[in-house]
């Protein structure tokens, strides 16, 4: 008579202890250590941010006053003085850059989403925008130098504006593209069904609906542009004077006001950071504080617009 073949049990008794989680087990210990390390790295990365903010507050606030915000830069070791023209200059240059880059970016984005999607030119535009995103800011300055300064013969605010515009266009374009794509297709269909021309569909429905998200992109681009230094070194240079002494806010009134070297917060910080004189170094910190506040405000506005548009 045959005996049934020996069956070795496939499952031995499960060792319940091995199911417990314990730091003594190498796998768990390794996991825990790695988690701790990444946590440390993350919080370590925050340290520079807090250190910068702390220094800005400590060194920058000390020099902050109405006088500093409204006066011209002082000579070495001269008392008083301020960053007034640098603030105006930053505003003017960024405004020029926005006027150039925002329509360019938005119109191009409209084309690649609405009028010519899936064409080769759309893919080319997207690729070009991504390549331009990585363009070193100093080369944008060199470009504007070659194109504007060389032809007009002047270092000027518009030249600076052109350089910054080159840096802003990719951001505006790519975020506008996303914003337009997010507009629900059924709204587009409804507008077409009502007999709107393609342009009317874009201008009366698509762009108004996507406006908050587009604005986010614009705000972020402006924030970045305001902080750029290198491009301005090749284009707007610097100036220790107001653009116009007759305008109540010291804004330029005539073309010749505009077409000369212009101060900016970023270049002021760069120039004064290397100065051996304490009063200028102190102003550099104050200017840095003002600049960071401006940049953060635009960033926050941009982020909050982004939050709202996702409703």
């Amino acid at each position: 008579m045959e005996r049934p073949p020996n069956r070795t049990a496939v499952t031995s008794e499960v060792d319940l202890e091995s199911l417990e989680r314990s730091l003594r087990r190498p796998r768990t210990l390794l996991s825990f250590t790695l988690s701790a390390l990444t946590g440390l790295a993350t919080f370590a990365a925050l340290f520079p941010l807090f250190s910068v903010l702390y220094m800005l507050a400590k060194q920058g606030l000390a020099g902050l006053s109405l006088a500093t915000l409204s006066e011209l830069p002082p000579a070495a070791m001269a008392p008083g003085g301020g960053i007034g023209n640098a603030i105006v200059g930053t505003f003017v240059v960024v405004a020029i850059a926005s006027v150039i880059s925002v329509p360019l970016g938005i119109l191009a984005a409209i084309y690649i989403v609405e009028f010519g999607p899936e064409t080769r030119i759309a893919a080319a535009v997207r690729f070009a925008a991504k390549v331009l995103t990585g363009l070193p800011s100093i080369l944008a300055g060199v470009f504007a130098f070659a194109v504007v300064v060389a032809t007009t013969g002047e270092f000027s605010a518009p030249a600076g504006g052109v350089a910054l515009a080159l840096l802003m266009v990719p951001t505006v374009l790519l975020t506008a593209e996303e914003a337009i794509k997010r507009v629900p297709a059924r709204m587009r269909e409804a507008a077409i069904g009502m007999g709107a021309t393609p342009t009317q569909v874009v201008t009366q429905v698509i762009v108004p609906t996507g406006a908050p998200a587009i604005l986010t992109g614009v705000m972020l681009a402006v924030a970045r542009a305001a902080g750029e230094t290198a491009p301005l070194l090749f284009t707007a240079l610097f100036s220790n004077y107001w653009m116009s002494t007759t305008h109540p806010l010291f804004l330029p009134k005539t073309m010749s006001d505009l077409m000369r070297p212009t101060a900016s917060l970023a270049v002021l910080i760069y120039n004064f950071s290397g100065s051996p004189f304490d009063n200028q170094i102190a102003l550099a910190w104050t200017a840095a504080l003002v600049l960071v506040v401006i940049v953060l405000v635009f960033n926050v506005i941009g982020q909050s617009l982004a939050g709202r548009s996702s409703d």
């Binding site: 059924r186 269909e189 009502m194 007999g195 429905v205």
Partner: protein
């Protein structure tokens, strides 16, 4: 009065122009293709003034496709080709000299998913009036349109609030108001109730009986009861799989009571009896 403005191509659609038997749209489709796919063949029907014409049939039989031919919405699909004629006010709207944008100004559409714009209720309804450069009182027309859509009482105090905050049924009635604000010659409705709950559906069906007094309506529906209740004329479409593909075609077309009570074709009989839908 005075001459109505011409399209860029010099041809106009005048006020409710109709052929002697009251036909506003005379639709004859020989073949309709999306690229190499033959979606629809052999459809011949008329939309008559002041009536509701229903398109019924199982899924995929091309009812929406045919409806969308009437206001050239199919132009948006890549590879769309039509062999046939759709005569609206004496013009073949598929003639090369006709501007589809002009067609859509005269033939309105309400879609399956409510699709109000991201604007206030007022501006949604006023959208068509603005588009057509309406010179009269926009306020009055908006109010009139909202009343026709049976939405006025619910929104009259919040005309400036966002249309997206309305419920699904309200949004669909808003879309109807938006479509009728410009008094289109024909109103196309593509399964307008299928995304709505039964109560909202019922309200819109009542609405349509009122709208029929003023407008000409063509409606696609998969709800046979709805078609029977509302439509004067019905077209029944079915799917032809004989050639290996799925091509829609019109099986039968005529007065609703005949289609439902005394259909001639076998497919129609079976569909009505609910054997497949």
């Amino acid at each position: 009065m005075g001459p109505s403005p011409a399209t860029a191509n010099g041809h106009a659609f005048g006020a409710h122009e109709q052929m002697p038997d009251g036909t506003l749209i005379d639709c004859n489709i020989n073949e309709l293709h999306y690229g190499r796919f033959k979606a629809v063949r052999d459809v011949s029907l008329k939309v008559r003034k002041g009536t509701i014409t229903a398109f019924i049939g199982p899924s995929g039989c091309g009812k929406s496709t045919v409806l969308r031919c009437l206001n050239r919405m199919n132009d948006l699909v890549r590879g769309f080709r039509l062999r046939g004629h759709v005569i609206f006010r004496g013009q073949d709207i598929y003639a090369s000299k006709i501007d589809p944008v002009a067609v859509r100004r005269h033939i309105g559409m309400v879609f399956q998913q409510p699709n109000p714009f991201a604007m206030s209720i007022f501006r949604n309804v006023a959208f068509g009036l603005r588009l057509n450069r309406y010179k009269g009182s926009t306020q009055e027309k908006v109010e009139s349109a909202l009343k026709q859509a049976a939405l006025w009482d619910e929104v009259k105090d919040k005309l400036r609030s966002s249309a997206l905050a309305l419920s699904g049924g309200q949004q669909q009635r808003l879309c109807i108001a938006r479509a009728v604000a410009t008094e289109p010659a024909v109103l196309l409705m593509d399964e307008p109730c299928s995304a709505l709950d039964p109560i909202a559906t019922r309200r819109i069906e009542e609405l349509m009986l009122e709208l029929k007094k003023k407008y000409t309506i063509a409606i696609v529906t998969h709800n046979l009861q709805q078609a029977k209740r509302l439509a004067d004329t019905t077209a029944f479409l079915y799917v032809d799989t004989s050639a290996g593909g799925r091509t829609g075609y019109m099986v039968e077309y005529g007065p609703t009571n005949e289609i439902f009570d005394n259909p001639r074709e076998e497919h129609t009989k079976q569909y009505i009896r609910g054997e497949f839908s």
